[in-house]
């Protein structure tokens, strides 16, 4: 191993607007992600749609995690250890596409976000490194 794990992980905090799914996040979000995964089963999706709060009672999520899920605040979910591929089970159950759900994290309207993508997407310029401002 040429690089220490500490150095390896520290780099990830230098990327603007990005939460890398590290062990620390995976541990924090364990039950948040496992809850989301449960929505892969049709019968669970029905129970979830019928009463979201009641459904969440079966899962040891923190109050902040529960609030973030109920509010569909995906940036907050990520901060609390959620991973987008797990959270996708929540927004898919809502009938949202990846594009629709992802746009909610950008502060842009879905139309503006869609237009940005059609125009070639978001440039990496200035979004590579916080420290180096590039």
């Amino acid at each position: 191993m040429t690089q220490s794990i500490q150095d390896y992980l520290a780099q990830f905090e230098d990327i603007p607007g990005t939460r890398v799914f590290t062990a620390a996040r995976a541990r924090r979000g364990y039950w948040l992600n496992q809850f989301a995964m449960s929505l892969m089963k049709p019968e669970n999706r029905e129970r979830w749609k019928a009463d979201e709060s009641a459904y969440l009672e079966d899962w040891p999520l923190s109050p902040e995690q529960k609030d973030a899920v109920l509010a569909r605040d995906y940036n907050r979910c990520l901060d609390l250890g959620g991973n987008i591929y797990f959270l996708a089970k929540v927004f898919s159950t809502d009938g949202l596409s990846f594009l629709q759900a992802v746009s909610t994290m950008t502060g842009m309207s879905v139309e503006d976000y869609q237009a940005m993508m059609l125009a070639g997407g978001r440039s990496p310029e200035g979004l590579r490194s916080i420290r180096e401002d590039r």
Partner: protein, 280 residues
């Protein structure tokens, strides 16, 4: 003797599967994107591979947080499309090749790769979307498929170098399989995309195209790209491109690019694909 004859690198964006399943590929949004695969569809149909080793990642479908294998090889007879939250895709079941898969698995462990062997799992869009892009909508997939699932979700994923070495070892394993069959290896995922946070929607055409260039021009450079570069330059989900290096490592030192296509966007993502012929 079995031989790996060619490799494909390709995006595996879920919305491409939706467009295929619901016959939207003629719509304005999709026309260019799907047209770029026409050449490849024709080429694959003519090549008639017996087996495709399909390198992909599971997106919280077969594996949840309880178990996270770095490299998992599917040795089962059959794999069904996963229900990813909106019901399973209406595509054929994936028929495995247990003889070759177990042969490869055994060789890889002896070769000091710490494989996880999987006999039963469902396969998600990471595996089924490339099949749709290359084969269209047949009643049954025209060849056997060996799923090779790589963890690129929970950090750290395997290094690019380790992926390359796994590809080399897979090639050795295939060459020692006694049946005379034509094997392709596909690496999937990418290209640049970020599905999270304020930076979502990031696309880096220049970086992606240099990556496509160097699959034939300077593959040794690709092998040494650190994870942080994928993250900074291609978005948080661009890391999936490490899986292309398993494909590239399996093709040996020299390849010829037969076809290449790059299109932005599909959903949040840059679609790219490349067809590489192995030169002996």
């Amino acid at each position: 003797m079995a031989r790996i004859t060619a490799g494909i690198g390709s995006s595996h964006i879920p919305l491409l599967g939706v467009a295929s399943d619901f016959d939207k590929t003629g719509e304005d949004y999709w026309r260019d994107c799907f047209a770029g695969y026409d050449w490849t569809k024709g080429w694959v149909a003519q090549q008639r591979p017996d087996v495709v080793i399909l390198v992909y990642n599971d997106h919280a479908s077969a594996f949840d947080m309880r178990i996270i294998p770095t490299f998992a090889i599917g040795c089962g007879e059959r794999f069904r499309p996963a229900d990813e939250g909106w019901g399973p895709r209406a595509v054929p079941d994936v028929i495995g090749h247990p003889d070759l898969a177990w042969h490869i698995a055994q060789c890889l462990v002896l070769d000091e790769f710490d494989m996880t062997i999987i006999n039963e799992m469902d396969v998600d869009h990471g595996l089924t979307v490339p099949l749709s892009m290359m084969f269209g909508k047949p009643d049954a997939w025209p060849c056997r498929i060996i799923p090779l699932a790589v963890n690129v979700v929970t950090y750290p994923p395997p290094t690019g170098n380790r992926c390359w070495l796994l590809g080399e070892a897979i090639a050795r394993a295939v060459e020692s399989f006694p049946e005379d069959i034509n094997v392709q290896i596909w690496g999937t995922g990418g290209m640049s995309h970020q599905l999270q946070g304020p930076r979502a929607g990031l696309i880096n055409k220049a970086w992606d195209n240099r990556f496509l260039d160097d699959l034939s021009a300077d593959p040794q450079r690709l092998r040494r790209i650190p994870h942080i570069e994928y993250l900074r330059e291609t978005g948080s989900e661009g890391i999936e491109m490490v899986m292309w290096l398993i494909m590239r490592g399996a093709l040996g030192p020299d390849v010829r690019q037969l076809h290449r296509h790059y299109h932005v966007p599909a959903s949040n993502t840059a679609v790219g694909h490349i067809v590489l012929e192995k030169l002996t």
